[in-house]
Amino acid sequence: MIKVVNLIKKYNHILALDDISYSFEKGNIYSIIGSSGSGKSTFIKCIASLEQPDQGKICYQGIDKQNIGFIFQNFNLFNNMTVLENIIYAPQKVLNLNKEEAVYSAQNLLKAVNLNSSIEDQYPHSLSGGQKQRVSIARAIAMNPKVILYDEPTSALDPENIIEILNIIKNLSLSKDLLSIIVTHHIKFAQIISDKILFFENGKILVEGDSSILYGKMKNKRLREFLSKFHIIDT
């Protein structure tokens, strides 16, 4: 569905992505893990066209840019709009839905992300982190995407909200047959949710496979070192 070929991205001569090639398949959930500065976020920003790669190409098979949703680490809700306005604005402007259709769809989406209709008229500054993240997911889903990219969706959330978001992502991915690519620091989150896990190091995909790559005796020394740090943090 998305094919990345020989992707290279530099920031002031520092290599952020080093000749990455990979194919993402429809309906799967991919998690990208790795240390800070390993190129995870740059990679999905290139897929989302928020960053332009210096070399290589990204082939979008059967989708256009409008079909790609992006969930930001800091939510990036429109602060001058209410929750409902945040969700209905793009469908009205871009998909040309009338207000009634957009509101009806938004109210269903709010239910799907376990939000009470009473928050419809609230502004983002009065919401908790978990609520903001759920609104941002509803806003992205309102555009009927085929692909959703999540940039550390749980980093600003407490453990209870992390489980909630995990279930929402999983359910949406299954019910809408979405390709989901999640950049995360939460190894357990990646273990539970992912069909495939990619381990990034110095702008390269060092290890790739299903969640079993995180169990047992790991062949890759760097992945072992990386995970051992997290086990220390977890305890």
């Binding site: 001058n80 992205a140 555009m143």
Partner: protein
């Protein structure tokens, strides 16, 4: 010693009213110059800001040079240039009021465009990225998302700029516009009294600026 101190009480009141009435006739000129300059200045500054955000190298360079020159030269010089030098260069007669409004507009546009730029940059860039990911056009992003939010941070600085403009407009008397300051000067010389006319002129400026500041407070409260 001012005349007000050596005449009887009733004459003092009459004298005060006479001076106040004379200077009050200049309020319209001050308001015309400064309010027109605010409107045109904001219009020019919006154009400058749009040009700056086109990412076209020529436009960006032009805006940078424009702002640098206007901020780097005195308003007095700019006014003299527009009124005395420009007609000779382009062979067009420029009226006093036109020269004043044009110079004040150009001068304030350089400052207001920087205020608008600051306001736009105060809005989290992440919201622009979010709009981009929702396929919202650049125009809609600016009009419906960025500008309404930047307005909150722009208003206090904009009110300050408007206040500065009203005070700066006191200079326009040097080319003959009969504004508050010019009239205060004329009557001071005529009556050999610099205290009373200047105090009354100061009071008029203070009232004008107080009203503008109050309007600013009301707008700020409404935007909160």
């Amino acid at each position: 010693m001012s005349l007000i101190e050596i005449v009887p009480y009733t004459q003092k009141i009459e004298y005060l009213l006479y001076i106040a009435r004379y200077i009050a006739q200049g309020v319209m000129s001050t308001l015309l110059c400064s309010l027109s300059a605010i409107v045109f200045g904001i219009f020019i500054s919006i154009c400058l800001t749009i040009l700056k955000y086109t990412n076209n190298t020529c436009f960006v360079f032009f805006v940078k040079v424009y702002i640098s020159i206007i901020r780097g030269t005195p308003f007095f010089l700019q006014l003299f240039f527009v009124y005395f030098a420009l007609p000779g260069l382009v062979n067009v007669h420029v009226s006093m009021i036109f020269a004043c409004i044009l110079t004040l507009s150009i001068n304030s546009s350089a400052y207001v465009s920087e205020i608008i730029r600051g306001g736009i940059e105060s809005v989290d860039k992440g919201q622009v990225d979010a709009a981009k990911m929702l396929s919202i056009s650049y125009y809609d992003t600016m009009i419906d998302i960025v500008l309404p939010q930047s307005l909150k941070s722009i208003i206090p600085s904009l009110i300050n700029e408007i206040i500065n403009l009203v005070k700066e407009s006191a200079v326009v008397g040097v080319i003959g516009i009969a504004d508050i300051m010019r009239r205060a000067h004329i009557i001071s010389v005529e009556k050999y009294d610099f205290v009373t006319p200047l105090c009354i002129a100061g009071l008029f400026y203070y009232i004008l600026i107080f009203i503008i500041a109050q309007i600013g407070i009301i707008i700020e409260k409404k935007l909160k």
